[in-house]
């Protein structure tokens, strides 16, 4: 899970989930706490989806 997807692609990660921003990849301080947590949960669920998906090369899960 990372914000700068081109770097993850360059270093060879196979399952990539793009995130929010460099200083807060899994959050957004501008949102109310409950919404921020829901955003984080959606991103982590996306990562779990990536882990349960077969890939045959580098894949970005947008």
């Amino acid at each position: 899970m990372c914000t700068i997807v081109p770097i993850s692609l360059t270093v060879g990660a196979n399952r990539i989930v793009p995130t929010v921003a460099i200083p807060h990849p899994l959050g957004n301080p501008e949102l109310p706490p409950a919404e921020e947590r829901a955003l984080r949960r959606r991103l982590v669920e996306k990562a779990l989806e990536a882990l349960t998906t077969e890939v045959d090369g580098q894949t970005v899960f947008d």
Binding site: M1, C2, T3, I4, P6, I7, S8, T10, V11, G12, A13, N14, R15, T19, A21, I22, P23, H24, P25, L26, G27, P29, R37, R40, R41, L43, V44, E45, A47, L48, L51, T52, T53, E54, V55, D56, G57, Q58, T59
Partner: protein, 349 residues
């Protein structure tokens, strides 16, 4: 003859705007040279003039790559330069990516040369090496005083249209451009001589080094995530407050392994970031924004994952050498396998 026109690209730090707290400023221009551009102007002398400096925050650039490229390109084009100089970026990852992306946009759209400076392990080099003549620098700004003269000299040579030798002679990193040259011996003879030298254990120099791809085959997918033990690993520097292992804020030489037993939420009282390469305010207020322990605990309780591994691993990915990163990864992966972890979520900033 009029002077050649040069535009210089810098990040917020070298552009003298500020540190990480200013890393999210969008691109803007200052007339004339700024910061390292002053020394560069001295090297360029009377032949070329830095007419403007375009500055952009490293985070803003990397979080808005397409918009950043377009806006920086427009600002640069407005000054009708003959050449663009970007950086040097040393081993700053976001800055290297930005310098490379600027080089790509400028060379493709304006058709003018770009000179930059970079440390060979900076990810910006591998991604954008074809688009600029990157002078090889050290990993930190301590090498500024050797980087700038090399970049300035190269810029003058390119501007004046002087014939360039091989990249090694000119002090920049090969872009992967092949050029025909005349040699005394034909290819078959050179190849056989190389082979004989190799067989004798003597030194020889290949004429076409193979690129080194660091790729691994993807692991198979998890069969049943509801039974999987999942571990968290981060390069975002999240550590127990006080940073007990003193992980360095940049160029980390170590990683930490920390217990998550009984931890359901990371708070400003319990955890913080040791990372020196991004604005720490948001992670220090709530480290779940980098290491999502709260949400994984929730998913664990709901039975959506088997369990969250009882330790997390953290280091600081900020100018960290590839050699150290590889060693950390080997050690961490070995332990995770021994502990029966089925999958890992790696978070980076």
């Amino acid at each position: 003859m009029s002077k050649f026109r040069v535009v210089h690209y810098l990040n917020q730090f070298f552009g003298q705007v500020g540190g990480e707290d200013k890393a999210n400023i969008p691109p803007f221009t200052k007339e004339g040279p700024v910061g390292p551009g002053m020394a560069l102007q001295g090297i360029l002398g009377d032949d070329a003039e830095i007419v403007a400096t375009v500055i952009c925050g490293d985070s803003w650039f990397n979080e808005n790559i397409e918009a950043a490229k377009a806006q920086v390109l427009e600002l640069i084009a407005g000054y009708k330069p003959d050449l663009v100089i970007a950086g040097p970026a040393f081993n700053a990852g976001r800055y290297g990516m930005a310098c490379g992306a600027v080089a790509e946009a400028v060379s493709q759209n304006l058709g003018i040369p770009v000179i930059s400076g970079i440390y060979p392990e900076n990810p910006g080099l591998e991604m954008y090496r074809r688009h600029a003549m990157f002078v090889k620098t050290g990993d930190s700004a301590a090498s500024m005083r050797t980087a700038l003269p090399a970049m300035g000299k190269l810029a003058l040579k390119v501007l004046k249209g002087e014939e360039l030798g091989a990249p090694e002679e000119e002090g920049y990193i090969p872009r992967g451009i092949r050029q025909n040259i005349v040699t005394e011996k034909r290819g078959s003879q050179r190849a056989v001589e190389m082979l004989l030298a190799k067989l004798r254990g003597e030194e020889y120099k290949t004429e076409y080094p193979m690129p080194q791809f660091d790729r691994v085959a993807p692991n198979p997918a998890l069969r049943d995530v509801t039974k999987a033990k999942i571990a968290l690993v981060t390069s975002g520097g999240i550590v127990p407050k006080g940073n007990p292992d003193h992980i360095e804020s940049s160029s980390a030489s170590k990683y930490g392994k920390y217990s998550l037993e009984g931890v359901t939420d990371l708070t400003a009282e319990t955890h913080a970031t040791a990372h020196g390469g991004y604005d720490p305010v948001y992670a220090n207020a709530d480290a779940d924004r980098v290491l999502p322990v709260d949400v994984l605990r929730e998913l664990e309780q709901e039975g959506k994952i088997g369990s969250l591994h009882r330790y997390f691993y953290a280091t600081v990915g900020n100018g960290t050498s590839v050699a150290n990163a590889r060693r950390f990864a080997e050690e961490i992966a070995r332990e995770l396998k021994q502990d029966g972890v089925d999958a890992v979520i790696l978070t980076s900033t």
